[in-house]
Subunit: 337 residues, 2 copies
């Protein structure tokens, strides 16, 4: 799916910053697409964007109203539907990362049909894909993989896009999750695809490209997560990455949602290479991204230095210290680029 920009970010009536993290993610990574914010009475979160009505937004050329909030269960409250209908009637598309499909409200469905507007339910996948072929495609690809879910795979890929573009490289973030799709305006929530088509969908997300072009593909889950490893393996095979970065959160004791211990970074490197060779025999690890949020500056630097020394790879916290070391490594490993 392709979501037209610019966006108006809808914050509903949320009262804490975490509930607005989707909108915050879009603003952090695509500020140039964010024309304004719209809030309902009671909303206490402020992203610092211009406050707009739907009419303002339409007049200023906004193309999509983005439901920028998350909540437990991913439910879209019915009280938000009138703003959504108003946006559709003003000629905007609407995009949502919630589990509830926008068209499940008859008024929303009818308004979209009436005006010929698109409803982008980015947590769902209604597209048909071919099964993966595993054939080597032109262009270069980097995949972020993880010791667990929610360890910074999306932010690492986005940080690499920013860092590589800043150095004149031709690089595009490729989204495989709902927030990533809103941030990049295209992509597929890969965990919502029918199981037979995981790798095929990734082949569609990161298609043939120019020889020097880098796709920076957002990873999902972990090969070591008992709930989601199948998604991670299909994603690895479909991405056929030339390079990968391992993402890690050093304070976590058990994998998200289950009782299993985290694998080591070395385990992840080893199994990723072993399985990744199937569709790219030259796959190699080019860096480690560690979320050091829980650490002070000195502790964070010590943690990164230890990881770098242990694995002989650049290690960084992309948000805190940037990605220059990993980009240097990429330029060394892929000198023709």
């Amino acid at each position: 799916m392709t979501i037209p920009q610019p966006y108006l970010l809808f914050l509903g009536d949320v009262q804490d910053r975490l509930s607005a993290k989707t909108a915050q993610g879009v603003l952090d990574w695509r500020p140039e697409w964010c024309a304004g914010q719209i809030r309902l009475p009671g909303c206490t979160v402020d992203l610092g964007l211009p406050e707009m009505t739907i009419a303002d937004a339409a007049a200023k050329g906004v193309k999509t109203l983005v439901i920028g909030v998350v909540n437990a269960g991913g439910v879209l409250p019915e009280r938000w539907s009138s703003v959504i209908v108003e946006a559709l009637e003003a000629g905007l598309d609407v995009a949502s990362g919630l589990h509830t499909r926008l068209e499940s409200f008859p008024a929303v469905r009818e308004a979209a049909e009436r005006g010929g507007r698109a409803l982008h339910n980015v947590r769902h996948s209604d597209r048909t894909f071919a099964t993966g072929k595993g054939t080597k495609r032109p262009g270069l690809r980097l995949l972020t993989v993880g010791t667990d879910c929610s360890v910074g795979k999306k932010y690492t890929a986005l940080s690499l896009e920013r860092g590589m573009r800043a150095r004149g490289l031709d690089a595009d973030f490729r989204a495989t999750g709902q927030t990533g799709v809103l941030i990049s305006g295209r992509g597929v929530a890969i965990d919502a695809v029918v199981a037979d088509f995981i790798s095929g969908a990734v082949e569609w997300i990161a298609p043939d490209a120019a020889p020097g072009h880098w796709d920076l593909i957002e990873g999902q889950g972990s090969l070591f997560h008992p709930s989601f490893a199948g998604v991670s393996l299909g994603l690895l095979h479909g991405a056929q990455p030339d390079a990968f970065v391992v993402c890690h959160e050093p304070t976590r004791k058990t994998m998200r949602g289950v009782a299993h211990a985290l694998p080591s970074i070395a385990d992840v490197i080893d199994l990723t290479i072993r399985c990744g060779r199937l569709t790219n025999p030259a796959i190699r690890c080019v860096g480690i991204a560690i979320n050091t949020q829980a650490y002070g500056e000195d502790e964070a630097r010590a943690c990164l230095e230890a990881a770098s020394a242990e694995h002989g790879l650049p290690a960084t916290d992309p948000v805190r210290f940037g990605v220059d070391g990993i980009v240097d490594r990429l330029l060394t490993e892929f000198p023709a680029v």
Copy 2:
């Protein structure tokens, strides 16, 4: 889904035995469920079952009309819908492994609704599953894995069920594909499940059981197949097998549908153990099943002896030579059972 027995096998107007392989599979493994066959004018395939009209079948207590045919694209021809409607009106359920959903014909949908009959589209999964938890469940489980797709994983699991039951063991085949679901009357086509729920669906298919009970779980794809390895890995983690059997077809040069070479049996054993340990640290290989159909008797025996010697495991062609060697091995490895 649970499909009520006995079955009436519908052969449509097919003219070659291969197109009736679903019906043949059900008859091979569940002859006691197959009350009769029904054929349209032009059908030249005969399974040797009593010929029945829908009225005959209903009078004899048949519970489900099974569409026992396959074709390219899995399309249900509209000319078959009148028999399906007749079956529903006579009080039968209808089950189909074709891609076309039964209810896509309005007359079929309406007849099912009118009579309160169930339409079992076994290639689709409409059920909601939890995500996999990876927690060890009571009971014993064996998974058939493969060097490729279509190398005998279903037939090996079914042969083991027959062989183990014949020796007084408590064993149930667990279906993960459409034909397997028709053969066992329950299960889920795992490749049709949304990617996030692969391992969770398998946890549902092979739930908690008595300590000495064996679930014999039908594998899908291969950890080395670039199109489907994600399904195979999620299935492995959800099955948490105590034991596995590697299935292989020795004359195949490339993996089904792609240009990749087949992995060796040793590769499959090694990666299955490595990944399977995540949800069952005691996982072990207990045998090799080789489809020797292309070989004469002597060549087949030589092939099996060589595989057995190379891997130190019982090797058999289950259809040709039975599964006693593998069952012996299971009894040795799991003596408490």
